[in-house]
């Protein structure tokens, strides 16, 4: 009853703020825009206008198209970026206001444990995003059903994934609000934390890309070395040909050593950042899980096949060229092999530690 009262009060607090309704209206506009876009045999449609585009129903089914738009625009861009920033602005004051002089005395003097109070206030902070993403997803579900002709209940996975993503940030925001007692300081430091997460993730992804590229180059050179070895050992060759093959083998072996060293160095750096990332919340990958849940590889196969010829990219030129498509395929497989436990489990461990520190500070503090 007490905890429900706090959640109910938080709902009233959010509903009393303009930003809640502004975000809700903007979410409505995003869904409306989403409903206005369609796909047909020739390309994209916006309301009654048609545009030729590389996307058409021969590459993507309307259902897959809408799911991709939902994940990439609705969730990744709108909810996980813009709406999350607005949600943080709206909720950063929850803990500082809760512990402000004159308010905290009223609550702490009631028969509720401090730890429960802190966790309930944290949950109350997630209410904003839960309500927003809930309304947004329901509206998107209806749009996809009507426009795409497929009723996809899997869309509602957006609610837990987005709330989970926001909870990583809000756990830190709550702790910072508790420590600084200032909404603005908590907000700015949370943005800094988010930027650090983004930076670590971007660096790890870049290093992963280079590690994969170098690994493919090593594999390619290894195949060359193998071919050169076979040539050297091949029967019925003249002394001169054997000598030439041996020289070529030596060159390839030197090249292999060089590429192995490059790949090893890159692997080490990637290992460091992967290690750092392992103990931090994986905000981007948590949202990526939604795409993994909603859109299968098979759905995207025609689209992937119609893409570039693999000639672009960092590794497509030089002495050991590697196809960009090959790298992306290997990279995608590697990322897909990251388990749910690693992505969400380790993030939740981080969140639990941050919440635990917050609860401990809150429990021991004098107000």
């Amino acid at each position: 009853m007490k905890l429900l009262a706090i959640l109910h009060d938080q709902y009233r607090a959010l509903a009393a703020g303009k930003i809640f309704w502004v975000v809700l209206v903007l979410s409505g506009l995003v869904v409306a825009a989403f409903g206005a876009v369609g796909i047909n045999k020739t390309g994209l449609t916006v309301l009654w206008w048609e545009f030729d585009a590389i996307f058409n129903t021969s590459l993507l089914t309307p259902a897959t198209f809408y799911k991709l738009v939902f994940v990439n625009v609705g969730i990744k861009f709108w909810l996980a970026w813009i709406a999350s920033i607005l949600a943080l602005i709206s909720t950063a004051s929850i803990i500082p206001e809760f512990i402000s002089s004159g308010a905290i005395e009223l609550t702490l003097s009631k028969p509720i444990s401090r730890v429960k109070l802190y966790f309930t206030k944290f949950l109350a902070g997630l209410l904003f995003v839960t309500l927003q993403v809930g309304v947004f997803t329901t509206a998107a579900f209806l749009v996809i059903g009507v426009r795409g002709g497929t009723w996809e209940p899997g869309l509602f996975w957006a609610v837990p994934y987005t709330v989970l993503f926001f909870s990583y940030l809000f756990s830190m925001c709550a702790l910072l609000g508790l420590l600084t007692r200032s909404s603005l300081a908590a907000l700015l430091l949370t943005f800094l934390f988010w930027f650090v997460l983004f930076g670590v993730n971007a660096t790890e992804q870049s290093l992963h890309y280079f590690k994969t590229g170098y690994a493919l180059q090593v594999e390619k050179v290894e195949s060359w070395v193998e071919a050169a070895e076979q040539k050297v050992q091949g029967p019925g060759q003249s002394e001169e040909a054997i000598e030439r093959s041996k020289k070529e083998l030596a060159t390839k072996q030197t090249q292999l050593e060089r590429y192995r060293a490059k790949a090893g160095g890159m692997g080490r750096w990637h290992g460091y950042f992967h290690g750092v990332k392992s103990v931090m919340p994986k905000s981007s990958e948590t949202i990526e899980l939604l795409q993994r849940t909603l859109v299968s590889e098979a759905d995207l196969e025609p689209l992937a096949a119609s893409g570039n010829d693999g000639q672009g990219g960092f590794f497509s030129r030089g002495e050991v060229p590697v196809s960009e498509r090959e790298i992306q395929k290997r990279l995608a497989a590697s990322i897909a092999s990251r388990s749910f436990g690693w992505i969400v489990g380790t993030s939740l461990v981080f969140e639990a530690v941050v919440l635990g520190i917050g609860a401990l500070v809150f429990r021991r503090r004098d107000f």
Partner: protein
């Protein structure tokens, strides 16, 4: 015993001694006043009792249970000083919310909220948002909030702060009503005259220790006195000197000297009280032959006794000298007099500096013996 504290202390960051061994008793069904200068530790003590501040050490009970247990908090109603209610809630919603936090069931909350809003006189505003409330209305709402859980002990921190005279009277009446209902009311206030009107017992805290504690009757007994106002033929020092000579002739001795030499009633600049008598600058003090303290200040003779017998020789001496007596009054100190006496350092005669003791814990400079009947 509703509150029975023994050696409650609170040290902030290892060096600010906000409370230095508070021992205090509050009896069931009384209105208890907690007084003290700014920074004396009153609010810290109230916050310790309501678990807002964690004590460094705390022995004692509230409502028969250890201080700060959930059961105790459920039986306590608390109005903090400078409380802040959520501005987006209406008066009725505030009561409902804090009632729910206290564990009151929904139906009961609705019933109590209606009654309490009527009781504190803001039922017409119950559906209006708190942001539109005046300071006085917020205070009334705060009191209603403190009563939502039907508490046995009501702790009010500056309950009449910002309230107009009519509102203050209403709140005083409410305190009396609560006492009549058998509840215990614990008030922390600076308005001494108001506390004097309704408190059964008070404690004065100075520098984190209880300097005085007891019933107002017992505490003020200590400073009872007679005051004789005399019509002097000439005003100023000359007139006062004449009065001194007169008193000397009637057998008043110098305080502490015990002799009869002529220099006995010398003019001294005193700030410290003499046996409970207020002494201003340039006052003259002495002692009757029967031992009662005398202070002569301007045209007023103050005699530290509530027995009329010892003052008769003084009246006779004044009359013999042909002086007119304007008034003979039996006085007892006000709560303010007691308060002022408690906040003065007996060693230096200066008021204690405001704020908590910083640094290592020293003795208890503010401590004076508990006075009066029940501790």
């Amino acid at each position: 015993m509703v509150i029975d504290l023994d050696e409650v202390s609170k040290v902030y960051r290892g060096r600010v001694h906000a409370l230095r061994g508070i021992s205090m008793k509050v009896h069931k069904g009384e209105v208890f006043g907690l007084l003290g200068p700014n920074g004396a530790g009153k609010s810290t003590l109230v916050k310790v009792l309501t678990t807002v501040v964690r004590p460094t050490s705390c022995r004692g009970t509230m409502l028969g249970q250890p201080v700060g247990t959930k059961w105790v908090l459920g039986r306590v109603g608390y109005l903090p000083e400078h409380h802040k209610f959520p501005e987006y809630l209406t008066g009725a919603q505030v009561l409902d919310y804090y009632g729910a936090l206290s564990g009151v069931r929904r139906r009961e909350r609705r019933r109590r909220a209606e009654g309490l809003l009527r009781q504190v006189g803001i039922s017409a505003w119950q559906k209006k948002k708190v942001k539109g409330y005046s300071k006085g209305m917020r205070q009334r709402l705060g009191i209603a909030q403190a009563l939502m859980n039907d508490p046995d002990l009501v702790m009010l921190d500056e309950p009449t702060d910002g309230v107009d005279p009519v509102g203050r009277r209403d709140i005083r009446n409410m305190m009396v009503e609560l006492r009549e209902q058998g509840r215990t009311v614990f008030i922390n206030s600076h308005l001494l005259s108001e506390l004097e009107m309704i408190c059964d017992r008070v404690a004065i805290i100075v520098k984190g220790v209880v300097a005085m504690q007891g019933t107002i009757q017992d505490l003020t007994d200590y400073g009872r006195r007679y005051e004789i106002e005399v019509e002097l033929p000439q005003e100023g020092a000359g007139g006062t000197k004449g009065l001194q000579t007169l008193l000397r002739a009637s057998g008043v001795r110098a305080l502490g000297a015990g002799s009869t030499n002529d220099a006995m009633i010398g003019v001294e600049t005193l700030a410290a009280p003499v046996l409970g008598l207020p002494v201003g600058a340039n006052a003259v003090r002495g002692q009757l032959a029967t031992g009662e303290a005398v202070v002569v200040s301007g045209s007023t003779i103050r005699i530290g006794t509530d027995d009329p017998a010892p003052i008769q020789p003084v009246i006779d001496a004044v009359r013999r000298a042909g002086l007119s007596i304007r008034a003979v009054k039996q006085m007892r100190p006000s709560l303010e007099d007691l308060f002022m006496r408690a906040v003065v350092d007996p060693e230096t005669g200066q008021e204690f500096t405001p704020g908590a003791e910083v640094g290592r814990a020293k003795g208890k400079p503010g401590a004076q013996p508990t006075m009066g009947g029940r501790p």
